[in-house]
Amino acid sequence: MRTDTDLLIPVITLVGPPNSGKTTLFNLLSGKNYKTVNYPGSTVEYYTSHFLSKYNIKADLLDSPGIVSVVPESLDEKVSVDSLYSHPKLGVPDLLISTIDSCQLSRHLLLPKQLISSGFNVIIVLTMTDILAKRGLKVSESTISNALNCDVVIVNGRSKFGVEKLIEVINKNLIRAKESDKKNITHYNSLENKRDLVETFKEIEEIVNDAYEPIKTTEIINLNSANSELSILQDNHINNEFSPDKLTLKIDSVLLHRFWGFLIFLIVMGLTFTSIFWLAKPLMNLVDKLFVSLNTLVIENFEPGWFTFLVSDGIISGTGSVLVFVPQILILFMILGLLEDSGYLARGAMLIDKPLSKIGLNGRSFVPMLSGFACAIPAIIAARTIPNRRERLLTIFIIPLMTCSARLPVFALLIAYLIPQEKPWVGGIILGGIYLFSVLISILVAAMINKFRKRIFNAEDSSSFILELPAYRIPKLSSVISHTYNSSKQYIFRAGPIILGFSLILWFLTFFPNINPEVLTEGFSTEQIQNLERADRLEHSYASDLGKFIQPFMTPIGMDWRIGVSLISAFAAREVFVSSLALTFKVTSEDDKQQSTLLNSLRNAKIEATGEKLFSVATSIGLIVFFIFALQCLSTVAVSRKETGGWKIPILQVFIFTSLAYFMTFITVNGLRFFGIQ
């Protein structure tokens, strides 16, 4: 709760329909690049910020989820509307700033009209007047202001025109707000029946008819594109029935073409994925190299002792395994941001809605699922855009099956192990196959889970897909960057601490209790002694006790306790599997005369009891299969719990996906062996 002094600071909330320029205004006023998405979710996170100091306004500034109306449809929508009326931390807002696309007055005025009826102090900000001007029209602020009895300001988000006027009006309204009584604010209820909604729209249409004015010819000449627009003006008598943006219609006749549309969609998606790998790879290698050299630096320059190893193997390697994925996540969200800001993602959602609806999902599930290929955490959060609860929960349910970037190093290692070195392209094909397979699996799982939806999700509200297709525009780089930044931040700050923490626990388990192992030192170099010490330490560590405990589960799938330990450690995050394998195998392999590569030590590893080769073709493929299915990411579990509002779904996810992983690995390994592939 806020303290008394906090209560003196006024609260200003930005509201507005999706695509009304709300976030642009928020960024303009706060300078902080926070991007919000339209999410009627169970967890409502309003972005909060303060005004830039140059505006000299002392107030909390909130950015709310994009909504069309304040009459909630579902329980989830009710939560977001309720926290607009009274924010759980900041209370009732003193002032609302409602953004309106001036080309869409007749649709967008509904929201401020409802809010004014509720008793709020509202300032209307008209955006995108430059686009309106191209159509030969302008809006009269005073007409809207008089009709709705509130202040109206025109602001251009790109040229910053009108911001000073807005600041002035905010100050004026804040003084007025001090005197008014917030208790008069009541939830807007009168729109419950259809006639009221029709009446409200009629009133709005009357206002709109008066508000649009043609720009005089002299003014038009001042516009660069004067000639082409004059013709529009002539046949455009002022009414509220514009046709949508002409260029958009032209582009859509290709991108939403009944045949080409879907093909282009598939190509765009294909290019998106291939570019992640091509673009991210050099950066990931760079991050990797940086942390390896940091690690070596520490080991070489400090006395070997538990603290040195804590810093090098625990903290530095742990941080490295968090940061190595940042390039991939950055690039995927960058591309997603570009596609979203250009207006294409909404079309993608429309194109894929029908197939997804067959398995109980929604066109809106598409973007979250796509994000799942980078990292499940921002993906699960992005599922808030799905208004239907059942569809949202089902989307969250299958997101962990998307091949996230953390699985990539595991696959890369195992594929490199499996294929001959002179044919690297085979690896690319296998990797592509893994992605396709995981997509097919997630479709199957979604369809199956959908059959049990009543028991699992306990929600059965009517499915709906109504989505505005915004006019195409050139993406605004700053908003793409802020979107990318915030999604990556979600990964670093939510997943990061858990991955790092688990790496430290893992380090502890592999280091203790045998801190100072006694090994033969005669005739060995310092490096060899260190390796022998590490091997001995690990062999008598807590981790090996744990591994031996789960040995009975590992034998049926052709693996031993060392892989078992690595699989357990992969629950911190999947990529820890590789570093854990490295720790376990580099030091226990017989090839300790020289620093062997991880691949070589894997080739030489033997099952201790039988002396058979541990990483056979069958077990390696088995491991790939295991990683396709298993949910081994504590951060995902944590976010899933938060977003679904309970433990039921995350526990089911862990149980179903992990047992499925074990079962499928069992079948794969033993099936391959049955056909003579070892």
């Binding site: 514009f242 429309m350 809605d353 897909f465």
Partner: protein, 73 residues
Amino acid sequence: MRTAAELNYREKGIISDIDSSHPSSKRIMEHGFTPGQTIELINKSTFNDPIAISIRGTLIAIRKSEADCIKLK
């Protein structure tokens, strides 16, 4: 009576009524589909569903099952 779901490609229609028994009817109206408005079917998705309708100067993608409650004159 025809509905918006039955419009042909690039065909216009004027809304006469919204079937309020449909669970999405309120949401549809909040997007600006009210009696008297002229709408036009702009695009159909590859699988014929959803469809893109122009209303009040913007494009809305909507499932056919929901467009079915938009009655035309």
